[in-house]
């Protein structure tokens, strides 16, 4: 069973076409991973599908880094 971080990383690598090594917990989607605002919306959509959950627009706005996404998803899964 992959960890949340591994699954999130895979979604990011697939969507943004970045190298896996760039996807660290501190990496910001927009600053470090080259995502534009539409990419972030799409990433959130794909994370919703991957983890079968709904992420409200308000919560999505607070997700800035890879770590934010992982923490958010982990808290929702528990």
């Amino acid at each position: 069973m992959s960890t949340v971080l591994e699954r999130v990383t895979k979604v990011i690598v697939d969507r943004l076409g970045v190298d896996e090594s760039e996807v660290t917990e501190n990496a910001s989607f927009r600053e470090d991973l080259g995502a534009d605002s539409l990419d972030v919306v799409e990433l959130v959509m794909e994370l919703e599908d991957e983890f079968d959950m709904e992420i409200s627009d308000e919560d999505a706005e607070k997700i800035v880094t890879v770590g934010d996404a992982v923490k958010y998803i982990e808290s929702k899964l528990n």
């Binding site: 539409l38 919306v41 799409e42 959509m45």
Partner: protein, 248 residues
């Protein structure tokens, strides 16, 4: 082979008038169609039957475009049935005409809710799917009066001008995902909406149409088919007038 073979189209307000003609024309070109209606169940079912007779698939789905839950349900049904949404035609619209000074707040609100907010809600509801598909066409039925203004239609012209602005913004936001958004601006088209106008109004309108005659719903539908087809793959954010030359 039709121009839209195997595509899925959702047409709002497709039970009557222009929307009906659009649904039928899309089906003629090979599309499967979700026929949305508000109250005219039987009429919507007739449209569905006509499409089935052409050998295409179609379903009728009741939804109020001004209500978000209702719109979500419409798109959900479309996806359950056909698995994709390739074309959205925002056609549902109403009029509540009155002079500005006499216009009631309810008349203003109702028209803005259906004709403008409805387009926003439906567009928002399909973008997720279209972004995933990396393709989609959204065609909004505006009106020539949204460009020119028209005495007695403050609410309606404001909504239609709003639709044109929304069309251009959506076109810019979604272009990178290969979702093309355009508007069609019909002029005076013979439908139940226009049948209701008094004779003298019709006569004076006719005098303003360079081509000298009223339009037909099918003529609007052909423009929609064009914008939905591969022929229009380099066109986005535009307003195509089908108005006999009223506005140039």
């Amino acid at each position: 082979m039709g121009k839209l073979e195997g595509k899925t189209a959702v047409v709002t307000g497709a039970s009557r008038g222009i929307g009906r003609a659009i649904a039928l024309e899309l089906a003629k070109e090979g599309a499967n169609v979700v026929v949305n209606y508000s109250g005219s169940k039987e009429k919507a079912e007739q449209v569905v039957n006509e499409i089935l007779e052409m050998g295409r698939k179609a379903i009728a789905v009741q939804a109020n475009v001004a209500d978000n839950d209702s719109v979500q349900n419409l798109m959900k049904k479309a996806l359950e049935e056909f698995g994709s949404i390739d074309i959205l035609v925002n056609n549902a619209g109403i009029t509540r005409d009155n002079l500005l000074m006499r216009m009631k707040e309810e008349e203003w609100d109702e028209v803005i809710q259906t004709n403008l907010k409805g387009v926003f809600l439906c567009t928002k509801a399909v973008t997720r799917q279209m972004m995933k598909q990396r393709s989609g066409r959204i065609i909004n039925i505006a009106s020539v009066v949204g460009v020119t203004g028209n005495a007695g239609q403050a609410n309606y012209t404001a909504a239609k001008a709003g639709v044109i602005g929304l069309t251009k913004t959506a076109a810019r936001e979604l272009a990178s995902r290969n979702i093309l958004v355009n508007a069609v601006a019909p002029g005076f088209i013979t439908t139940e909406m226009t049948d209701a106008l008094p004779e003298d109004v019709k006569t004076s309108m006719l005098s303003q149409i360079p081509l000298g005659k009223f339009g037909k719903p099918e003529q609007v539908a052909k423009a929609v088919v064009f914008l939905a087809s591969d022929d229009a793959e380099y066109i986005t954010g535009q307003v195509l007038h089908v108005d006999g030359g009223i506005a140039m």
